[in-house]
């Protein structure tokens, strides 16, 4: 058992949890910003549907020339704008994920480099205030997996949305909501609580 390796690892873990805390906040903020966009996307889809259902020539609006085409163009443009904004949000989510992933892999790498000096007894040693190294690595990985899962699910959903598939667009807000997993979010919050003493011991 070597002190320097262990303390270096602890240092790296502390840093990672710091990143996790920050990233988690950013992640939540970005997702909060996304939800009105998604709702408006569903709204636009509903409007398009209504437009397809109505016969404009049977309404008093028939005096406006090319009304249907114009309206449809407007709606499409709006949809495109919203999708573009959502994509921007996705890229910020991606950057969050990437930062965190890199952080986690750096920690793992550090551990792997020092496996010779860190035997299993050391890494599984825990106390009332300090979780064991194995536990902390596990939590970091779990959190990383959560970010990856969430990001991929949302990305898949958005990538498959196109302006001409109305039913998919209409159902987008619901599906977006169904992708949330409160339990995993809670887990991350729990993790951060569990390591709070460890973080303060700096």
């Amino acid at each position: 058992m070597s002190k320097p390796a262990s303390s270096a690892l602890h240092q790296a873990l502390r840093k990672s949890f710091q990143t996790l805390e920050n990233n988690h906040k950013v992640w939540k903020d970005v997702l909060d910003e996304c939800s009105p966009l998604i709702v408006s996307l569903g709204n636009l889809a509903e409007q398009s549907r209504a437009l397809s259902n109505v016969q404009l020539s049977n309404t008093p609006l028939r005096i406006f020339p090319d009304l249907e085409e114009r309206l449809r163009f407007k709606l499409l443009q709006a949809t495109d704008t919203v999708l573009g904004k959502l994509n921007e949000k996705m890229s910020s989510l991606q950057s969050v994920r990437d930062t965190f992933s890199n952080q986690v892999s750096a920690v793992s790498q550090l551990y792997e480099q020092n496996t010779s000096s860190l035997d299993l007894l050391t890494v599984t040693e825990r106390s009332a205030t300090f979780p064991s190294v194995a536990d902390m690595l596990e939590w970091l990985q779990d959190a990383e997996r959560h970010f990856r899962q969430q990001f991929l699910r949302r990305k898949t959903l958005l990538q498959l949305l196109t302006a001409d598939n109305l039913s998919l667009l209409e159902s987008a807000p619901e599906r977006w909501k169904s992708l949330e997993s409160p339990s995993a979010e809670e887990n991350i919050a729990d993790t951060l609580c569990k390591v709070s003493f460890f973080m303060e011991a700096q």
Partner: protein, 748 residues
């Protein structure tokens, strides 16, 4: 070392590829956190990363099956005890590249999602996963359309496992749907099929041709056949054949069972039929596909004049089959055992292009089926399958499998009594043969359960016996000799002679000695108050007899059954109509298509040793494919002359009343079971019983025995000579000189 108890995976670990085990064991195996580990469980193995349990206890194992061999996907291991030796650390390096097949949930996604997107997603999903060649990565935890990834190949010289990083190149070899993939996994273990090689080859060809040579077919400008109708009696393996071929080719199978499609409301049935075709079309986009319409006759009966609801269903099927265009690459296979009741419009090229008849298996095919069936049974080497095949005339595949099952049951019963031998012996098959009868004879008219009679039980008549054996037994026993001399077994044998001279018993003995199927009919079976019914019954009888040929068809008292055209008062009576049916059936133009049996192809024998038996079996089939009619009458003058010509009843045998020697032989046979007193002189009895028939002599013995019982108060020790003489004095012969004279003039 202590064995490990396998527990189900913790929900929070799902998708993490972790394998939870005690830290002690980890240290023992030299593992650190997250080291790759190959776990072998019964039925497969999986690759995971070692991780200590959070409670640090030993003796338990929890595996997340993220990367496992394909068989574990459908049957995940549960509640096992594992040996620690089944855990093996594997070195895993970072991979340069992998080649994968992506399995997605819906066909819709496969069509809609661009390859670039799938590639991007899969690459993201696989990052940080340890993979093993030919294993399947389970991506269900991501909850997207992409369900599994099959690792086809990894770019590594020697290792079979490795780690995918962000720098690993991912190449997608193909995209499949989950249904298709699962079916492929299942298809790897299907039942084997014996004796239907040719039919299955032709089916396979039709399935594979358009896939292998799409360019050739389009350049020739022909469309591939797309419909096959399988016709054959029940139990020959039509359904099994289709399942088997689909499994072999790797085609997906859409099965339609008649009653499932038919709905109660008008239009419902047609709709479900359209849905089925749509389903087949969707499946065909991924690979070969077979749409199987089982029991087609119930789905598609002959259309009648009225507006029956079936008519619409038939019309829908016709239009659907016509509406298939070149791009729909699926094969429609229909199966029925009543092709005559199908709508004729179905049976034309463009709909069902080919019709394949699967007949009742021939001897060769039966042997093949039996060998396939016995493959998985512990069968004694003494069991001779060729002999068994010979004895099972008329058995279809289903009957043979029932036979094997029954034989195995007998063997198990015997084992349970204590004679520890596990193998199925020939005697078990013999027992089973008694209880399992061919199903094609089940509903037959003339099926008789005859008590076996050996030739020895018939006294005298040596000449007739010899002739009967010549015409019935020899073709079965020495087929190659018959073929060499260009001989054919006779079509029919007529036995005539005075009543009571053992004509029926002779036939019974013949049936016993040759292992033929034996059908016997009398007037009561055939006659019916409806016009045309009797003829139909007789024709049906012949059809069934042919289905299980070689077969002996016994018509007792043929004179009353079938009239003569010359001296009949009513020229159009039932008898004359029956006669015409009989004449036709015995020497008609040919067989109906449906009754064709076996295939024309002659199998190549493998070695010289095999050759000999093979040849013999072939001869046997050539010789004995007909039905043999045996008729008996005591009024041969009443028979129609057309029936008696060669080619129909060509062997005409006179069964004479017993002469002196025969009578002695008969009396000897009759008294074998009787305690006869020493003073009984059978020769004297013989001398006194001229014009006695065999039946009379049997009666005489019976009377004498009864008299003995009567006289000696039920306790006679033996039957004395006087009783014979006394009972003889009370009897008179049933034959007369004049009667015999008439028969003798006829026989000349």
């Amino acid at each position: 070392m202590k064995s490990l108890k396998l527990l189900s995976v913790d929900p929070s670990d799902r998708g993490s590829q972790r394998c939870r085990l005690g830290p002690g064991l980890m240290a023992e195996l030299g593992l650190s956190l997250g080291s790759p580990l190959l776990v072998t469980v019964p039925g497969g193995s999986c690759l995971c990363t070692a991780w200590p349990r959070s409670d640090l206890s030993e003796g338990f194992l929890q595996i997340d099956l993220k990367c496992s061999s394909p068989s574990l996907i459908s049957h995940p291991p549960t509640h096992l005890n594992l040996d620690p030796e089944q855990l093996k650390p594997v070195p895993c390096l970072k991979l340069k590249g992998v080649k994968i097949t992506v399995v997605v949930q819906s066909l819709d996604f496969k069509k809609r999602a661009p390859l670039r997107l799938v590639h991007e997603l899969v690459k993201d999903m696989l990052k940080g996963v340890y993979v093993h060649e030919k294993y399947v990565i389970n991506l269900e935890d991501f909850d997207t359309e992409i369900r599994f990834v099959v690792i086809e190949m990894i770019n590594m010289d020697s290792a079979t496992a490795g780690l995918i990083t962000s720098k690993t190149g991912v190449e997608i070899a193909g995209i499949q749907t989950v249904r298709h993939y699962m079916r492929q996994l299942q298809d790897q273990h299907t039942a084997v099929l014996g004796g239907l090689d040719e039919v299955s080859a032709s089916l396979k060809e039709m399935l594979e041709l358009p896939l292998l040579y799409p360019g050739t077919l389009s350049s020739v400008g022909v469309s591939c056949p797309r419909g096959v109708l399988l016709v054959g009696p029940p139990g020959v393996g039509k359904t099994l054949l289709v399942h088997r071929v689909a499994g072999e080719v790797g085609a997906s199978l859409v099965v339609v069972r008649g009653p499932e499609v038919v709905g109660s409301r008008p239009g419902e049935s047609e709709e479900s039929l359209r849905a089925v075709f749509e389903q087949a079309r969707a499946a065909a986009e991924e690979g070969p596909c077979v749409l199987f319409l089982d029991e087609l006759d119930s789905l598609c009966p002959r259309r009648t004049g009225s507006s029956a609801p079936e008519n619409r269903l038939v019309a829908q099927l016709l239009t659907l089959m016509d509406g298939m265009n070149q791009s729909d690459r699926f094969l429609i296979v229909g199966a029925t055992n009543r092709p005559d009741s199908l709508d004729p419009a179905l049976r034309r090229p463009g709909r069902f292009d080919r019709e394949v008849f699967i007949g009742v298996p021939t001897l060769q095919q039966r042997k093949a089926i039996l060998s396939v069936l016995c493959m998985r049974m512990p069968v004694c080497p003494s069991v001779n399958l060729a002999e068994l095949a010979q004895k099972t005339t008329g058995y279809v595949g289903a009957d043979l499998s029932a036979l094997c099952r029954e034989a195995a049951m007998h063997a198990i019963q015997e084992n349970s009594k204590g004679s520890g031998n596990q193998a199925v012996d020939m005697k078990h098959f013999q027992k089973a043969l008694k209880s399992v009868r061919p199903s094609c004879l089940r509903s037959s008219l003339g099926r008789t359960d005859l008590s076996p009679v050996s030739w020895d039980q018939i006294g005298g008549l040596e000449e007739v016996k010899l002739k009967l054996r010549q015409s019935i037994e020899w073709p079965m026993r020495y087929p190659e000799a018959f073929v060499r001399l260009g001989l054919r077994r006779p079509r029919g044998v007529l036995l005539y002679g005075p009543p009571g001279c053992a004509k029926t018993t002779l036939v019974r003995a013949a049936a016993t000695s040759s292992h033929c199927a034996f059908l016997s009919v009398s007037g009561a079976d055939l006659y019916s108050p409806y016009v045309g019914d009797s003829e139909k019954a007789l024709a049906q009888l012949f059809r069934q007899a042919r289905a299980c040929s070689p077969c002996i068809l016994f018509l007792d008292e043929i004179d009353s059954l079938i009239g003569s055209r010359s001296n009949s008062q009513t020229p159009n009576s039932v008898q004359t109509r029956l006669l015409s049916v009989l004449l036709n059936e015995m020497d008609g133009v040919g067989l109906k298509m449906l009754e064709r049996r076996g295939t024309e192809k002659i199998l190549q024998a493998e070695g010289a040793e095999e050759n000999r038996t093979q040849e013999q079996l072939e001869c046997q089939e050539v010789c004995n494919k007909d039905v043999m009619v045996v008729a008996a009458t005591n009024r041969p003058d009443c028979l129609d002359s057309a029936l008696l010509r060669p080619g129909r009843l060509d062997q005409i045998m006179y069964v004479p009343p017993p002469d002196q020697q025969s009578r002695l032989a008969i009396l000897k046979v009759c008294t074998t079971l009787m305690p006869v007193d020493a003073d009984v002189c059978l020769e004297e009895l013989v001398a006194k019983t001229e014009f006695y028939s065999g039946a009379d002599l049997e009666n005489l013995c019976k009377e004498a025995a009864l008299l003995a019982l009567q006289e000696e108060n039920m306790e006679p020790s033996s039957i004395k000579h006087t009783y014979f003489i006394r009972s003889l004095s009370k009897m008179s012969p049933s034959l007369s000189a004049r009667q015999i004279q008439t028969y003798q003039t006829l026989s000349r």
